[in-house]
Amino acid sequence: MSLTEDTPTPKRPSGFWSYANPVKFLGLSERILPAFWGLAAVSLIVGLIWGFFFTPDDFRQGSTVKIIYLHVPSALMAINAWFMMLVASLIWIVRRHHVSALAAKAAAPVGVVMTLIALFTGAVWGQPMWGTWWAWDPRLTSFLILFLFYLGYIALWEAIEDPDTAADLTSVLCLVGSVFAVLSRYAVNFWNQGLHQGASLSLDKEENVADVFYIPLLVCIAGFVFLFLALVLYRTGTEIRLRRARALQAREART
């Protein structure tokens, strides 16, 4: 990695924002990535094996409860990924840090895959539970809409060539899209009352699932969080390298 050698250090902010410098960010991510990959692997393997092999069947749902170890973490991450993109977009709009825009770009495909997993596991779970793969329940429906927002966001990134223009436009889309996603959620609720589970992870003990399911679920959630962080960090690094190669090439082309 020869990134650091030929780069002068002009006025750079210190503290948290200093990591908005791509080069410094690459250095940092290079250092902490192995830890994230490791944590993700360990907690995913432990959590999924624990959940799959060593938890009892639910008295009502039978062995299908095991799906919860994939379904809930992926659903959580799907929403949080969009939230992260929103924050990153805001940072780009306000402070114009390239890393932030690229992180948003890097997170979107991860978010889509998480959404897909949530949708798929949900559908597979729905078949035995509700007797149908798909129902137009508000939760499911708003998830589908979220999926569409992801698709549009990614398509817009892909369609625009100039990286800064693309960053600006996708950020605006992300902001507007978030407002409409919330709006859709309310609209959908009004439109159809649902079949889906209520919040079961709340701290309210009455509502909560039994501990036997709860603890491995937490481990799985941690695994998905670390996986998400590792993937996003790594992909952001990839985007930074591509941008740098592009910049160098453009410079070359002008000689």
Partner: protein
């Protein structure tokens, strides 16, 4: 109102193209921009017109003063010549389009749809648009493309008239317009390769 540019650096596609440009353009003055293909004339003119932000440097006296004409003319092929001109006059708060029609001898084409004009006739209409803006500073990118010799002379006369009336003009062109004007060759201002300040790619270099 004088247009003053100080130490300007402009970029396209995130790459700095021209740097260290400083000049000023006083009322009554015309400035011809020269430079080989790809030198960055278009990029500079678009920046001055406010269509893209400069990388660094200052532009004073441009706000609401500039009428811009680019590679394309902004004509609607389904509107007639008069309708096209009237629209732009209205947008810029002007009324009278007759002088513009006369200046580029469009009288005979007045009621023709813009889409049926030949390349040079279209261009003449595009240039006539500058006259109905009422703006003092004309910024024009290769205005004489497709024009024949007579039309080029007409154009030179229109510019001259604009200058006499206290206007100013900044024109990028490859041909000789036979105008009394200062010349600015942008070639020497080509951005140095290691220039970093402010470029959007800079952070990655």
């Amino acid at each position: 109102m004088t247009l003053t540019i100080r130490d300007l650096c402009v970029a396209r596609g995130g790459v700095p193209i021209l740097e260290g440009l400083s000049f000023s353009l006083a009322p009554g003055q015309a400035l011809i921009l020269r430079g080989p293909n790809g030198a960055g004339k278009t990029t500079l003119l678009r920046t001055l017109a406010g269509l893209q932000p400069p990388l660094s440097g200052q532009i004073d006296g441009a706000e609401e003063q500039i009428a811009y004409s680019g590679h394309s003319d902004g004509l609607k092929s389904m509107l007639s010549v008069t309708e096209n001109l009237t629209f732009w006059a209205d947008v810029f708060g002007q009324r009278d389009i007759a002088p513009a029609i006369a200046a580029f001898s469009l009288e005979g084409l007045k009621d023709r749809l813009a889409g049926t004009l030949s390349a040079g006739q279209k261009r003449r209409l595009g240039l006539a648009r500058m006259l109905v803006t009422g703006r003092p500073i004309w910024v024009m990118d290769e205005p004489t493309v497709s024009l024949d010799v007579d039309a080029v002379a007409q154009f030179a006369k229109a510019v001259q008239g604009h200058l006499h009336a206290g206007g100013a003009a900044l024109i990028a062109t490859h041909i000789d317009l036979h105008l009394e004007a200062d010349m600015l060759d942008v070639t020497p201002y080509r951005a140095a390769l290691d220039l970093r300040a402010g470029a959007s790619d800079e952070a990655f270099l």
